[in-house]
């Protein structure tokens, strides 16, 4: 079932891989800079970034692309290298000590769920136009899914797409929200309703919408951390050509399944994007925190520290088990991948709360970076409990798809969307 999203060639012979690894190592050493110590990856709340700040990052992406190290396991015909997943992993390992392009949230979506979904569902013509530009850092894609009135219930969106008068494209009208990275992105992968009389899940279509197109306005939304890293968009008859439709018209729910699956962590190069955690390696940040708080000998703080480490390590091991289950289980990958997502959604908040417990006053008021980092981790701790499918959505997926429990009676499945809207209105009026 893991093959639902994987697209690399089968693994090569070891000698080939070794040679590749060595070449990559040499190129990296000659061309890139070492990165500073500390965790890699994008942290929310790091600050609000302008489009200009990402120009050097885009240039760095282009450099890697031109050297043949972008899209290593992506198809050759679309600008990738057509090599195996093992090649991609080998490069990622070699590149770990180097400063790679930091394209923020839009980079995360573009090279993650968006491109995996495009590669599976977009037409060859679409892919030939967009994917090389994606790999070269010229096109960053964000996710235009959520709306003010539809989040978990993604199929409940009301942004509408109607045919234009010439019949060569579409006019899209509505509002999207919580779009991470929208302030500097080039395209949005946008879900819109194309048929209001079809059953709710059968009238949806995906479009690649230009973020700077006519009729699009983007308003930054300040987050819980104080930084504005997501945006709300208002679309007023934004024109999109027929060529920019992804998948079949009205069949967008099939495409959405891939997207949600990838968001849960299945089908990445490293299927769960989890480093193998070292049982002997308590997060040094926490050890510093407990010492700075003068609580290294306090049994309460020690217990809290060990609790965090236990859960961190257990989550790493869960990642390995999921990889095995995706290969061997007869249950759908969309259910199995939810374990990882639920673990993040449940344990991140626990971790952050224990961190406050350990640090006592420090994360509440601070003069140094450690206190601020702990506070930020606290504020960010529910991102994965909510974004990309809330804990409750993961629990539904596990209980229905893995455990085989019945669905609850539903008020919307299989009914025309216009009717679903009407009965929801009646419900609100009655209560």
């Amino acid at each position: 079932m893991a093959s639902e999203t994987a697209f690399g060639r089968p693994d090569p012979d070891e000698p080939d891989l070794e040679e590749y690894r060595l070449r990559a190592r040499q190129w990296l050493a000659a061309n890139l800079q070492h990165r500073e110590a500390g965790p890699a990856g994008v942290v929310r709340g790091g600050g609000t970034h302008s489009a200009e700040e990402y120009l050097p990052e885009r240039a760095l992406q282009r450099k890697i692309y031109e050297a043949g190290y972008a899209g290593i396991n992506w198809p050759k015909e679309y600008g990738g290298q057509g090599l195996s997943d093992a090649h991609a992993r080998a490069f990622a390992r070699e590149a770990a000590p180097y400063r790679m392009p930091d394209l923020g949230h839009a980079g995360g979506t573009t090279y993650g769920p968006v491109s995996q979904t495009l590669l599976r569902h977009a037409s060859p013509d679409f892919l030939a136009r967009h994917v090389p530009r994606i790999l070269a850092g010229e096109e960053l894609f964000v996710q235009l899914f959520s709306e003010p009135d539809a989040g978990s219930d993604m199929a409940g969106i009301t942004t509408r797409a109607v045919r234009d008068d010439e019949g060569s494209g579409w006019l899209i009208t509505g509002s999207k929200v919580w779009t991470s990275g929208a302030s500097y992105a080039d395209y949005g992968l946008c879900l819109a309703r194309t048929n209001w009389d079809a059953p709710k899940h059968r009238g949806l279509t995906w479009f690649a919408v230009p973020m700077r197109g006519k009729g699009m306005s983007i308003r930054p939304v300040r987050e819980i951390t104080g930084a504005a890293e997501f945006c709300q968009e208002f679309l007023d008859e934004v024109w999109v050509s027929d060529d920019e439709v992804i998948g079949e018209v009205d069949q967008g729910w099939t495409v959405a399944q891939t997207m949600l699956l990838v968001e849960r962590g299945a089908g990445r190069d490293d299927p769960v994007n989890m480093p193998e955690t070292d049982p002997a390696g308590i997060d040094p940040f926490l050890v510093d925190l407990v010492r700075a708080a003068g609580r290294a000998q306090d049994p309460v703080a020690r217990q809290a520290l060990a609790r965090i480490h236990t859960a961190d390590w257990a989550r790493g091991q869960l990642g390995r088990r999921i990889t095995g289950l995706l290969r061997t289980s007869d249950k759908p990958a969309s259910g199995i991948a939810s374990y990882w997502k639920l673990a993040a959604g449940v344990y991140n908040p626990q971790r952050a709360r224990l961190m406050l417990e350990i640090g006592q006053g420090q994360p509440l008021v601070w003069r140094d970076d450690a206190g601020q980092r702990a506070a930020l981790e606290y504020l960010n701790s529910r991102v994965w409990s909510i974004a990309g499918g809330s804990n409750e959505m993961q629990r539904n997926a596990i209980s229905e798809r893995v455990l085989g429990l019945p669905r609850e009676p539903s008020f919307d499945r299989g009914r025309p969307f216009s009717e679903v809207q009407r009965s929801a209105r009646e419900w609100l009026e009655k209560n």
Binding site: P279, I282, Q303, H309, W313, Q317, R321, Q394, N396, L405
Partner: protein, 380 residues
């Protein structure tokens, strides 16, 4: 169960499961409990034929394993034993087999080890003191006397000591912790069988009232037992967690089926989101428990390769045990809730699992004890 078991390990699992089903399924275990009886020694001898006590000894000493790592095979058995709530000394005897193989004298290896591997004799590991300190020598003092030692003190939470032939015991001496392997029948050794929460096994307190043993009872070098005890704790923590994971899986499957079958308000109760979500949480706890058991078993299997591997094994064993113990009780309580009134009956199997899992969580170190140990191992 680990999705990556080898074909040989799968075969081992099938054979062992067939043995349990034929000799001591839950229904028979219940009869034993009702009668206040104990499992026949033949059970242990037959289990030994399936290899229950052989995997942690090398072939040269009459052991041997089905894969190249005896720990992983022993984990397969431990999960099954937990699944079917099997009584008797298993972990403790295996610890003794491993310790004898590593550092037993030639005489001990020749006299005692074959009996253990063949299931002719069983061992009770007397390591914790009655308050639950699992660090090794706590509770018992060994005083040098001409030709041997005099042992005084108490050990607690000793599993099935009432039917064991040997005690594996760690005591304090002025030179440091020393390990002894002595017959339970030694004068001055008393086994007090306590009544307890777990109905499937007996936990005992062992009294040492000046029991005198000669030098041949010392296992390993006097005063140098620290490393051996650490190795035993690692192994016991992993095998104990594996037993719990096996019991958790059975209880979870039983509960899941009940929630599919039980109808209330015109629907199976398993269709209510309140129940579905708790089952999903239990299922996550269960998957993570299996994952940490596998990881810790692999770490312990690799512990002899170097210092780094040894450190990883020690951490992983304690982390796995702490995680599984907490997860087991959480899962058992969720299941308890789903069963409703029927969970309160003696006849329903639920309480047997609740009792066993609760006691297993404290055996071989409570989660709190293991968490403190992790801090110490990490130099915090």
């Amino acid at each position: 169960m680990d999705p990556e078991l080898s074909p040989d390990q799968r075969l081992l699992r099938e054979t062992a499961e067939r043995f349990i089903e034929a000799s001591l399924p839950l229904a028979k275990l219940r009869e034993l409990i009702e009668a206040g009886g104990e499992v026949d020694p033949a059970y242990r001898r037959e289990a030994a034929e399936v290899g229950w006590f052989a995997f942690l000894a090398p072939e040269s000493l009459g052991g041997g394993s089905v894969s190249d790592a005896g720990v992983l095979d022993t984990v397969v058995l431990a999960e099954l034993r937990g699944r079917y709530l099997q009584p008797g000394s298993f972990i403790d005897t295996n610890l003794a087999v491993a310790t004898l193989s590593r550092e037993g004298s030639e005489e001990q290896q020749a006299k005692i080890l074959p009996d253990l591997i063949a299931g002719e004799a069983a061992v009770a590991w007397a390591v914790a003191d009655p308050s639950g300190d699992w660090s090794g020598p706590a509770g018992v003092h060994a005083q040098a006397v001409p030709g041997g030692y005099r042992l005084t003190g108490r050990k607690g939470l000793v599993v099935e000591a009432q039917s064991a032939q040997w005690l594996l015991l760690t005591a304090n001496t002025p030179e440091g912790p020393t390990q002894f392997l002595l017959p339970v029948s030694t004068p001055g050794v008393g086994v007090e069988e306590l009544r307890g929460l777990d109905l499937t096994r007996r936990l005992c307190e062992v009294h040492l009232d000046g029991a005198v043993v000669d030098g041949s009872a010392v296992l390993g070098r006097p005063g140098q037992a620290g490393a051996a005890v650490d190795a035993q704790i690692r192994l016991a923590a992993v095998l104990g967690a594996a037993e719990s994971a096996g019991a958790m899986q059975y209880l979870f499957d039983l509960t899941l089926q009940y929630c599919k079958d039980r109808v209330a308000f015109g629907r199976p109760i398993g269709s209510f989101q309140a129940i579905k979500h708790q089952l999903a949480d239990s299922s996550l706890a269960l998957e993570m428990s299996h994952a940490v058991v596998t990881a810790a078993a692999q770490a312990v299997a690799a512990q002899d390769r170097g210092d780094q591997e040894a450190a990883r094994a020690a951490h992983a064993a304690s982390l796995a045990n702490a995680f599984v113990s907490d997860a087991a009780i959480e899962l058992a309580h969720n299941c308890w809730q789903h069963f409703g009134g029927i969970s309160y009956t003696w006849e329903h199997d639920f309480h047997l699992y609740l009792r066993r899992l609760t006691v297993d969580a404290a055996l071989y170190g409570s989660p709190t004890w293991h968490r403190e140990r992790v801090c110490q191992l990490s130099g915090v």
